[in-house]
Amino acid sequence: MGQERFADVVERFTNGYAGAVAAAAQASPETVKQWQQEFERNFKRLQNLHAMLTNPVQPQTGQTPREVVYKKNKSRLYRYASARTHRTPLLFVPNLGISRPYIFDLLPNGSFIEYMTHQGFDFYLLDWGVFGPEDDDLTVEHCVTRILPRMTREVLESSGAPDLTVLGYCMGAPVAASFVASHPEVPVRNFINMAGPIDFSKVGLFGLWLSKDRFNVDRFVDTLGSIPADLVKAGFKLIKPTMDLSTNLNLWWNLWNDTYVESFQALNKWANEYVAFPGEFFRQWVRDYYQENKLYRGELVMGGRRVDLRSITCPVFVVGAKEDYIAPPECVRALMDAVGSRDKEYVELPGGHISLIAGRGAAAHCWPKVSSWLGPRS
């Protein structure tokens, strides 16, 4: 019964479509011209689709010149070439696990790092690296008390500057905030939070799924050791199940456009390259941050020091994205009330989690905001 109805609907649809095409045959020259253009686009679509399937091009990501300043286990500290017109170096702290950091330097003319270096910032990127089973004992505490202090020291030494700006993106923001709040001796001149959750009671779907009374993180880590990349991928796909559908629909729609196809290939490569979590890192991340909200409640202790967000007194800039379902704006904005800074500003921009860091929207709305806030303070 259901199937018959479905067939009827499809038939009616095809009849309607055929009627529309037949009517087009008697249409005005303008309409005929539009149809011709549409056919050309379709031809180009097929050409590009054929090329993508038969001769896939490996997109050249991360092209801004850089040098390795320091190596620590899998982590690397990169310094990017720039005119360095601003005196204060900028340390960018991204997420650990989940994805690779080349999204921040995706393609020429579409790269956050390239943009910031063109603005004269002395840009450093902390690439946490891809961890293996030998790193399963690595914790958030180790990152906050061992890796970040070392990396900030290297930034100060190699730049020769007396202080630095710390910019955390996504999970990098609460981790960097934990570091800044527990290391008052480190000369942090400015702190920027881009799409980083702070108040985990407002963190949306992940907060609900990972809550203490439902998700047994100990059992999870004890059984799996590290959290495999495939499971990380499944979690992120589940949070927005229609994402692949709309991505592919938009690809088909824009497949005639070579520039779109090039950006799509780069972004698609990144979007499908997931990175595993070290087991103990995941345990502490879920328990202390998601389940117990210790950072926001001021109950976090790392390396014997209390992590008190109120001890952050430097200028703070917070950027949230309106349609961010990974770090909803209200949980990002929470940093504004938690810090002790007087000079603080919050902006909420259109788009989602990734729209702040990659794509045309980021270049138009987000990057100039970050640069214009940071420039006079550097």
Partner: protein, 172 residues
């Protein structure tokens, strides 16, 4: 173009039905007991899908024949996906769904743990037979290297601190 508001109205009705159906589906999920037969999503959602396609077909039949029709079709699909996304978001944001997803995870772990242990033991035995290092042994060596690097770094830090103190004491 005069038909456009009618088409939008049709689509709005369908969207509303989609939202109501989602709420009904969520309620059904919540009422599920382990003894009850599993719900059939296809049987439940097919009428909703049919209605959407009918709306789509009516819109096509009413639209003037020009390539703009394709743009309208794309917009329709975007809205459709968006409506589904919101409906799914509503479902996934419920206690029932969170419970269900964690039940699935627990089942996966329960199934995986003994199998994984057995597999690891068998692989280890086989490698031992061929006098080859096991994964655990290689991981152990890698861990030692990581620890060694950490220790060297701590020594470097201490040495740096001593040198800085000495430099500060030196008469100029």
């Amino acid at each position: 173009m005069a038909d456009q508001p009618a088409a939008t109205q049709l689509f709005d009705i369908w969207k509303r039905q989609l939202e109501e159906s989602t709420q009904a589906w969520t309620r059904l999920l919540g009422q599920q007991t382990p003894q009850a037969p599993p719900l059939d999503p296809a049987a439940f959602w097919r009428p909703v899908l049919n209605q959407g396609l009918e709306t789509w077909a009516r819109m096509f039949a009413q639209t003037p024949a020009s390539p703009e029709m394709l743009t309208q079709w794309k917009q329709f699909l975007d809205q459709w996906i968006d409506a589904w996304s919101r409906a799914l978001g509503q479902t996934m944001g419920t206690e029932q769904f969170a419970k269900l997803i964690n039940q699935q995870l627990d089942a996966m772990l329960a199934a995986q743990a003994p199998g994984r242990k057995m597999f690891d033991q068998q692989v280890e035995q086989m490698l031992q037979t061929f006098n080859l290092p096991s994964r655990a042994q290689l991981t152990g060596v890698a861990k030692q290297i990581v620890e060694l690097e950490d220790r060297i770094e701590r020594l470097e830090d201490k040495l740096g601190a001593v040198l800085r103190r000495l430099e500060a004491r030196e008469p100029r």
